[in-house]
């Protein structure tokens, strides 16, 4: 039974990572109603940025948050303004543009690093924690904590600040919000920036754990989409809990069934969810059948 607890803990921190990576995506999707297939590459850019902050500025990777997050915010605003805003009425072209962005970012990083594998040297000293006889790594625990803190902070932001309320207004009915004097495009830019900044936090917590490569974004993006769909597109708590569910499922499938089939298992779950309850756990029922192009 000790194995079961270990698997549970592994699944939880893995779920924390998934949540971190997906919260930004679901926010963008829920508010702006666009699918950003380049989300993994955005994460990857943040990871390389964290590495740079470590390499050039000598910052402890976790402290790099103060540098990486604001830069990512600006990056997100730029993407929205330059690429997505002009295509708001053309969802197909938007998806297409995000594929172009994916290709561009991934290969830009490849070009600049010439394919060298980069990684933040591990401290050498074991960064293990032992809780109730179960071994965990500090990096993983921190990722889980960060994920929880972010979702709570975001919740408060959306609920109790003017900006947050404006975002929610636009999500519910952008035409009504516009008549109330809210600059919808400005809210979109803010949201994309915010979503990207949150992804930046994820990048910072992931960089110490992994060996970086230009294609590492792709390893996370499919999982992120699965999490977003399971949780309900647009629901940040949905992304958080779906992340945990998928994390535990993946760890359990890997251990009890076969690690080689891990990803197929949760993909199947994802497809089943899409078919049986496409709105996900906490999403608005029927959203997927409206296609999210028009708001009613």
């Amino acid at each position: 039974m000790e194995n079961l607890f270990t698997i549970l803990f592994i699944g939880l921190w893995l779920g924390g990572i998934y949540g971190l990576v997906s919260i930004g995506l679901t926010l963008i999707f829920g508010v702006i109603r666009i699918t950003n297939f380049a989300h993994g590459e955005v994460l990857m850019v943040g990871m390389y940025g964290t590495y740079l902050a470590y390499g050039w500025l000598g910052l402890n990777p976790y402290l790099a948050v103060v540098v990486v997050v604001p830069v990512m915010f600006v990056f997100g605003v730029l993407i929205q303004r330059v690429l997505m805003q002009p295509l708001l009425d053309e969802p197909l072209m938007q998806m297409f543009a995000s594929f172009g962005l994916l290709m561009f970012l991934q290969n830009l990083v490849l070009m600049l690093t010439r394919g060298a594998s980069l990684g933040i040297p591990s401290s050498g000293r074991a960064d293990n924690l032992s809780i109730a006889g179960i071994n965990l790594s500090l990096g993983h625990v921190l990722a889980f904590v960060a994920s929880t803190v972010i979702v709570i902070a975001l919740h408060f932001f959306l609920r109790h600040t003017m900006m947050g309320k404006a975002i929610r207004a636009v999500t519910q009915d952008k035409r009504a919000a516009a008549t109330m004097g809210i600059n919808v495009n400005r809210i979109y830019r803010l949201t994309f920036g915010l979503g990207t900044a949150i992804t930046g936090v994820a990048s910072v917590f992931l960089t110490p754990i992994y060996t970086l490569s230009p294609s590492i974004g792709g390893d996370f993006v499919l999982a992120a989409f699965a999490v977003v769909v399971l949780g309900g597109m647009g629901s940040i708590w949905g992304a958080y809990f779906a992340g945990l569910i998928i994390g535990v499922t993946e760890a359990a499938a890997g251990f009890y069934i076969d690690p080689a089939l891990k990803s197929a298992v949760w993909f199947l779950i994802f497809i089943i969810v899409l078919i049986v309850r496409p709105s996900g756990l906490l999403g608005t029922v029927g959203a997927e059948e409206v296609g999210l192009r028009e708001q009613h």
Binding site: L83, Q106, I275, P278, L292
Partner: protein, 348 residues
């Protein structure tokens, strides 16, 4: 209901609807065949010019193949408006099935290609039935997930697909094997494939199925309200599209003769490419996918040849081009050309 009431007031939805109506009016049969043959002969020009340039003939072979595959995708993706990223699965199945029958039982791919196409079409219909409830990005993501599951399974099942090691088809040239010594024969085969898919596209476009597909794309709810069986239309479109894609996969298999999951099921190289070519060329038009293939594939190769030394540089350029195309070529090359033509005709 809003889009119907908006018809006569000159809004974008209105002009679309008007264009739809106009397009659906039957063109005279002779005109259609004439345009088809004219377009095909234009497409044949490079073949004649580059016949002896071995490098370019290879690229042209690929251009014809991808043009055909993009046309096939366009049936459900362009006309039907269902952005499918699962076509890589149909392509891979069309490659693996005849390859295995050829390797294990010596059956000619000419025979197994149509059979595999039928099987793949049926499977496609069954798989997409439940996913067609989803719209827009949800549908795209679900089909993307299907592609990933297929990739994992293809890697895992040695007996069906040769697993991770893949399948190697040895070189035994003969017409019945669909293996040729001369490159130009492959090129001609791919051209024939493109001609076939274009023919199917033209026929569908002029048929009621085509009209219904376009209606479903424009406004699914209105179409349903008008009595169109939306699900049946989508399934027919998907089935035909999958069958043609499967045939393309068979041809690819006998051309490259090296099949493994990364080669067949890579999203950026295969699954997304079909959509990309159609989008750039002009989604939902007859000739758009062909133009897309003729533009992008040589461009890709050319850029790679010029920037080859710097890893990733050519794809940086390509990615940039795609983003620019999305922003400025919203109706694709066909649309841009049509707009240009209108402006030229408008000037006195």
């Amino acid at each position: 209901m809003s889009s119907i009431s908006g018809i006569s007031n000159g809004s974008p939805a209105a002009t679309d609807m008007q264009r739809l109506r106009r397009a659906a009016v039957h063109e005279p049969f002779g005109r259609i065949v004439g345009k088809y043959l004219f377009g095909l002969s234009l497409a044949l020009v490079p073949f004649g010019l580059l016949f002896n340039d071995y490098y370019s003939i290879n690229i042209l072979t690929f251009v014809y193949l991808m043009a055909g595959l993009a046309c096939a995708w366009n049936i459900i993706g362009g006309f039907g408006g269902q952005f499918s990223l699962a076509h890589g699965v149909f392509f891979a199945a069309g490659a693996y099935i005849p390859a295995q029958f050829y390797l294990k039982y010596g059956v000619s791919p000419w025979l197994t290609a149509p059979a595999a196409a039928a099987v793949v079409a049926t499977a496609a219909v069954l798989i997409s039935w439940p996913t067609f409830r989803l719209r827009g990005p949800f549908f795209a993501i679900a089909t993307m997930a299907l592609n990933e599951v297929a990739a994992v399974l293809a890697n895992y099942s040695d007996s069906l697909t040769g697993g991770a090691r893949g399948l190697l088809i040895p070189f035994k040239a003969s017409f019945s094997h669909m293996i040729f010594v001369e490159r130009w024969k492959y090129c001609a085969l791919m051209f024939a494939f493109m001609a076939l898919t274009l023919a199917v596209v033209v026929v569908i476009r002029q048929s009621r199925l085509g009209y219904y597909l376009l209606a479903v794309r424009e406004d699914e709810d209105s179409a349903r309200a008008s009595g169109v069986n939306v699900l049946a239309v989508k399934l027919w479109g998907m089935g035909i599209s999958a069958a043609l894609t499967s045939v393309g996969g068979t041809l690819f298999a006998m051309f490259i003769r090296f099949l493994d999951p990364p080669t067949l099921l890579s999203l950026p190289d295969i699954g997304v490419k079909f959509a990309l070519l159609s989008l750039i060329g002009g989604i939902g038009t007859v000739w758009g996918p062909v133009l897309g293939a003729f533009f992008i594939i040589p461009a890709e190769n050319f850029i790679r040849a010029s920037l080859g030394g710097l890893p990733g540089a050519h794809l940086v350029v390509l990615g940039l081009l795609l983003m620019l195309a999305a922003l400025f070529l919203k109706k694709g090359i066909v649309g841009a050309a049509a707009a240009l033509w209108r402006r030229v005709r408008a000037t006195p």
